[in-house]
Point group: C2
Chain length 157, copies 2
DNA sequence: GTTTGCGTTCGAGCGCGCTCGAAGCCATAG
DNA sequence: CTATGGCTTCGAGCGCGCTCGAACGCAAAC
């Protein structure tokens, strides 16, 4: 399947950062899915605050059930959606777009093409951003390499 | 506009090979440096608004002279600094840090080590960000590839 | 000589994404 | 029996980076 292929590629691109390994774990989506989690557990899993989780719910990104005490109960589906949402947020997708995307999901299968369009556009946005950052990285590395050196050109500040 | 152009040219120079940073630097240096520019020209060059340029000046990031009419006159040094500043902004360095960096520049050569530290830290930040984005990109590509397919895993939404 | 257009200063406002504080409920620990 | 701690709702506030509008100045074009 394409899964192994993509995973391998991702691993190659990522390198040896420990954070990335954890993130890869999230990528596979088979991560700690305890069938039902508290807000604190989800917050910890996604490395966001409980405040933010409540905010996402308020903004209509995810529906969360309550237990007998009125406490939030995150089921597997909610957690999966939140994994997706946080990844999209992390890669720069605005709340607005995420809200639109989720509304499409709620409308059913008929909206799959439009959802795909959104994902493709977002993919392209990420690619552009990576290119930008790669360029800035190169410029920054150059500046570090030449800073104070005899070869330092005139743009040193 | 002009920035995109610059970016594209630079990316062409870079290609897939080991980044030829010198070429980038030459590119930025030999870029339209008309010895003295108006705010509109600089805004166009950097692809930011005149408002933003005035804002940067207000925030102490750059000093700009005036002509007999009180209009801003950007000399080559100011433009070079602004090229640097916009690149740093584009790669995510906060205004605060930029303000600190510039204050170090104004303090003289004694602050070179600290400036280098800042650049190195920023370089690492960019690298981390690129890793993050690379991961999100892989995840997004995976989702696109499997969306609606029979092999769709459980994270479909 | 008025209009167009680009510039100036100043201060206020905005959009985004959280982030927080207050007041209260409930359950378990000491 | 109280205290602690984690949860709830609600609404307000904040930090960042612009972004804009108002009121004005000057000069070249018509």
């Amino acid at each position: 399947m394409a899964t192994d292929e993509l995973l391998t590629r991702a691993l190659e691109l990522i390198g040896d950062d420990p954070v990335s390994v954890e993130a890869i774990h999230r990528l596979t989506d088979t991560a700690v899915t305890a069938e039902s989690m508290t807000i604190a557990e989800v917050a910890d899993l996604l490395d966001i605050t409980a405040h933010t989780l409540r905010y996402y719910e308020r903004e209509g990104l995810v529906e969360v059930g309550r237990d007998s005490l009125g406490h939030r109960v995150y089921d597997a589906a909610a957690v999966r959606r939140l994994v997706f949402l946080t990844r999209m947020r992390l890669s720069g997708m605005p709340m607005r777009d995420l809200q639109h995307y989720i509304s499409l999901v709620d409308e059913g299968d008929g909206t799959v093409p439009e959802r795909l369009d959104m994902l493709i556009e977002h993919r392209d946005t990420i690619r552009r951003r990576i290119r930008e950052l790669t360029l800035s990285l190169a410029a920054t590395e150059f500046k570090i390499a030449t800073y104070g050196g005899t070869a330092a050109p005139d743009s040193m500040d």
